[in-house]
Symmetry: C2
Subunit: 228 residues, 2 copies
């Protein structure tokens, strides 16, 4: 009986067996992927839920719940197989899709992003930057060329671009986003601070509202002071 | 009876009557604050939950639930008082606290942030930037001077700095964050991509993981394609 249980646990669940992963769990998966990636780069191949719990500041029972659908545990006491879990979560999140990205807006934010490791770590290729400012067109940042916005639509089609990182100003954002969608780009990572109302069937938008995070920080600082 | 109900609804609830707002609601409030701020700047003084629902892509019943604790509705059919709600949410979130911020790291990301409107819109003053690179020390970005990191601790004390925006590299992040906490800064807005394990009683950290958002975008693009 114990033998049978062990066997069952050792065999990873297939995608079919796994079934749907809830939206709430999916939202938490990038963080697991990030921590597992760091463990892997540091040479850790197995980790217990207790240790992962310590490291991530999440309860061990939450971790077991979240990762249950991935299988990939060893025997009781051996912990998770870090590489297996990292790869399974990556596959579920679309890391292996080979997406190709452009960065629209070659200002300070665009330059900061193009030089960051966030693309390669998630299997996304940075192909080009785009801007309307003649002063930056033709330059390179992080090895990536800045092309004129007039070339955008053709470039997207010729290079099968999947997603665009939008770093233009709040004021320009909606117009530029419409241009991006019209060119056939399927996803926008939106840093502009402007909510984009685009046809939902055409393009997927993920918003990064840095100002909202600033407000949450202010709130938590205020709450903490008042709690003292 | 109808008269009485109307009167009750017209009187805004006080902070004491309101009681605690749940953590989940608080997380959603910065977005309301942002939309209400834009309505206000556009001259809209009243809005129905149905219209706000359209604008924000949230159900009207969710909006009523979220904003219920703030009071500040007019009579049935007159909708929300935009300014009142904007100010109440701002006060709850700590917008009026007059927090003073420094930006640590004067690279591209630091420069992008210092020039954004996100600070002033949330009542936070940008005071100075800090860096260790002699090539940028002494320069100004968005009117804000770059000071040497060696002057950090004294500057924080002399200028009663409340929060720091951390834009240094992932590798430098933990060491610099420890320096920030040791100087007495109470909050860190962390853009470094590195989770910071700092003593929780000393400093509040809010993380912005841009890479996690990129993964969520990839996931949603993949899901959409598979759903088609």
């Amino acid at each position: 009986m114990a033998e049978q249980k062990r066997k069952f646990h050792r065999r990873p669940k297939s995608v079919e067996e796994r079934g749907a992963v809830s939206a709430a769990v999916v939202r938490r998966l990038p963080r697991y992927h990030r921590f597992l990636g760091e463990l892997l780069r540091g040479g850790t191949l197995r980790i217990s839920s207790a240790k992962l719990s310590d490291l991530m500041g999440v309860t061990a029972s939450q971790i077991r719940q979240d990762l249950n659908c991935f299988g990939g545990f060893g025997q009781q006491g051996y912990g998770y197989n870090v590489r297996y879990l990292y790869e399974q979560i990556g596959a579920l999140l679309g890391v292996d899709e080979g997406y190709r990205a452009v960065i629209v807006g070659a200002g300070n934010l665009g330059r900061a992003l193009v030089s960051s490791h966030m693309f390669e770590r998630r299997g996304v290729s940075r192909m080009a930057m785009f801007d309307i400012d003649p002063a930056v067109i033709g330059k390179r940042f992080g090895g990536i060329p800045v092309l004129p916005m007039t070339a955008f639509s053709n470039y997207v089609k010729e290079n099968a671009i999947d997603l665009a990182v939008l770093t233009v100003s709040k004021e320009a954002a909606l117009t530029v986003a419409q241009e991006i969608a019209a060119a056939g780009v399927r996803g926008i990572l939106n840093f502009s601070g402007q909510e984009l109302s685009l046809p939902e069937d055409a393009v997927v938008v993920e918003n990064i509202h840095m100002g909202d995070s600033l407000m949450m920080l202010c709130y938590n600082m205020k709450e903490k002071r008042e709690g003292q």
